[in-house]
Symmetry: C2
Subunit: 432 residues, 2 copies
Amino acid sequence: MTTRNDCLALDAADPLARLKDQFSLPDGVIYLDGNSLGAMPKATAARVQQVIAQEWGQDLIKSWNTAGWMDLPSRIGDKIGRLIGARPGEVIVADSTSLNLFKVLSAALRIVKADRPGRTVIVSERSNFPTDLYIAESLAEQYGATLTLVDSAAEIPAHLNDSLAVLMLTEVNYRTGARHDMRAVTAAAQAAGALTVWDLAHSAGAVPVDLNGANADFAIGCGYKYLNGGPGAPAFVWAHPRHADRFWQPLSGWLGHAAPFQFSARYQPAAGIKRYICGTPAILSTAALECGVDTLLAAEPLGGMTALREKSLALTDLFARLAEERCGTLGVTVVSPRDAASRGSQVCLALNDPLTEAGYAVIQALIERGVIGDFRAGDPARLDQVPHILRFGFTPLYVGFADVWDAVEHLHQVLSTEQWRQARFNQKAAVT
Amino acid sequence: MTTRNDCLALDAADPLARLKDQFSLPDGVIYLDGNSLGAMPKATAARVQQVIAQEWGQDLIKSWNTAGWMDLPSRIGDKIGRLIGARPGEVIVADSTSLNLFKVLSAALRIVKADRPGRTVIVSERSNFPTDLYIAESLAEQYGATLTLVDSAAEIPAHLNDSLAVLMLTEVNYRTGARHDMRAVTAAAQAAGALTVWDLAHSAGAVPVDLNGANADFAIGCGYKYLNGGPGAPAFVWAHPRHADRFWQPLSGWLGHAAPFQFSARYQPAAGIKRYICGTPAILSTAALECGVDTLLAAEPLGGMTALREKSLALTDLFARLAEERCGTLGVTVVSPRDAASRGSQVCLALNDPLTEAGYAVIQALIERGVIGDFRAGDPARLDQVPHILRFGFTPLYVGFADVWDAVEHLHQVLSTEQWRQARFNQKAAVT
């Protein structure tokens, strides 16, 4: 059985451990919610202060050029590209994940309509993050398409037929952490004549992604989770170069224009991915995102996403194993896939009868002890398939092996002493 | 003739003059570009630092609730509402001006389609800010509508007929500063059976706006100009309550859902204006916006927007008059309307032959002297109607009468000594 000393030894031998120095985390906290809101890089405060006091306060309007504000969406996009298998010039930072999905799904539907008319079905998973489904619902109505939701990944192959327009999936599920095989699923969808749209919200910075290697069609992702960009940080968008210059995306704002400062009355989209920019970027939040992305690029000399993934798998495997070993008899079941290739960087637990409804209280009791995870309610109508879950994200940049051990120890104490019955219910649902 | 001492006396007698203390401006600068990027409030740096270091860094994910991040769009929206004649609960802050225009113009077109089918024309001005035209162009294509652009406001009445679906105007023109009579134009459009969409980018915080008084239908506006929200600050959106609950706007992101934390698979829009929220708000930029809006609310005990407007008109009138008196013989013509009701808070100048092409150099020479205005190129094909302009914004919060006098004195020196021939061409086009 693994001991705390074993974990301390793993931390001492971990070349990635020093990356934690890049972050400011409160004392006494084990932060296992970086899949919801990444931790704060130390560099961010000074950088944003520079943007406010110097670039805005002193240099004012000219900073659009002299401070490179105008180039931030591309500059940070290129940095994110290094994490997701995209080449320079293929990614831009803009707006929110929801809005970027609207852009790429619109573009995908327009391409399919032009190239393969008659394909009118968008397929996704009912368990996908809701905003993706809401955007797809809106676009399905607008384009006269049908949104079909499957209840499990196993049902997807049955929908890969000549009605399929777009297969829209989130690579790593926000609840369970289950991960699709992007390369295989993309190939299968394309073999059926469809396009793929991938949401990398729980992938970018969490698992190695190779968009070009997988020959994906479109991808979008989130800046405030594993990219550590800060609350509500701008999102990113990628289109395969074979698609980027085709059609407008409909959110045709002026900074996506080929020549915005000509102030012409007609829209002429910029070449490539820049047409996916819409309005003026929120510079403070965008500058903060760059600091977050830089914390991941700092791992490049140490093996980059491959090394981070190796540590992530070791952390999540250890947590799942310890949770079962030490808390299994107390009612804990691991819900996330145990197969390494099939999971992201998080582990979800469910509680068995008679603790089925105790999950929220258990998370509160853990938070009171400084172990920050979160709770996601299940589907009351089918708790057997969609149970209440305790969700724990493991960010290898700032979570260590002793943290994992300590988190399970706290969980053990909360359950064995039934401390959760006294937990204060002082936290509403947190943003995913 | 007005002297510099006269202007100093006006400043000494101005009860609004002390509001300038709210801002940090570089020494030796006369900032006449607040219509492009508002100046930096002193409070912003500390507030954003608090968001980063305390709310994000220490309190992490729970700040969505404990620090009120989730309420920011409504809280700041209500504050903006006080500046534009909207009631509490009618305005939210979200995304960019371009995106908010997409939302409201979509909603307007859906309402017209349902209530008055057959109306398929969107009318706007060719001189409207291009992003508005690009968004309208996109939606016209999508909804099978026609976008008709008029060359002057005088042509609008001829288009108020039973084909008109939406009249989409920017109240104050970004180039010339010309201002529409919102109440009269709205009434005329509605009498013709159409809806109105108003862009308040150069109005909110610049002129008194009374959306409910004017019985407008939809409005959007910008956070980074007269609201002093910082570069690329989030924008705002208003829908008249009679429209707010009708239809979805198509950017149906999860935070516009009636119950986002139920994570349901089907979209159910929130009641009222909250359905105009899409994805997760960029909190750093949003928090900064609140500091900017607060600098305007600080004028409320001193007469609010009415008092600010009075000063603004005095500033712009003085500038136009001095520019004509002192620089008229040097080739300067005032392009902005001289009638107070017909102009916003800016004054635009054109240069006569043979200086027609010298405008950019003149602005550069002024910038080198610390007088920050900007240059907007005309339409090469019809410079008589759309000339090159030197654009100067007058923000009564931080511009005084002596500033006006000094700015004209610099302009006089630049022109009389032909200093502009030596100006360094070191600034590319700035963001409007």
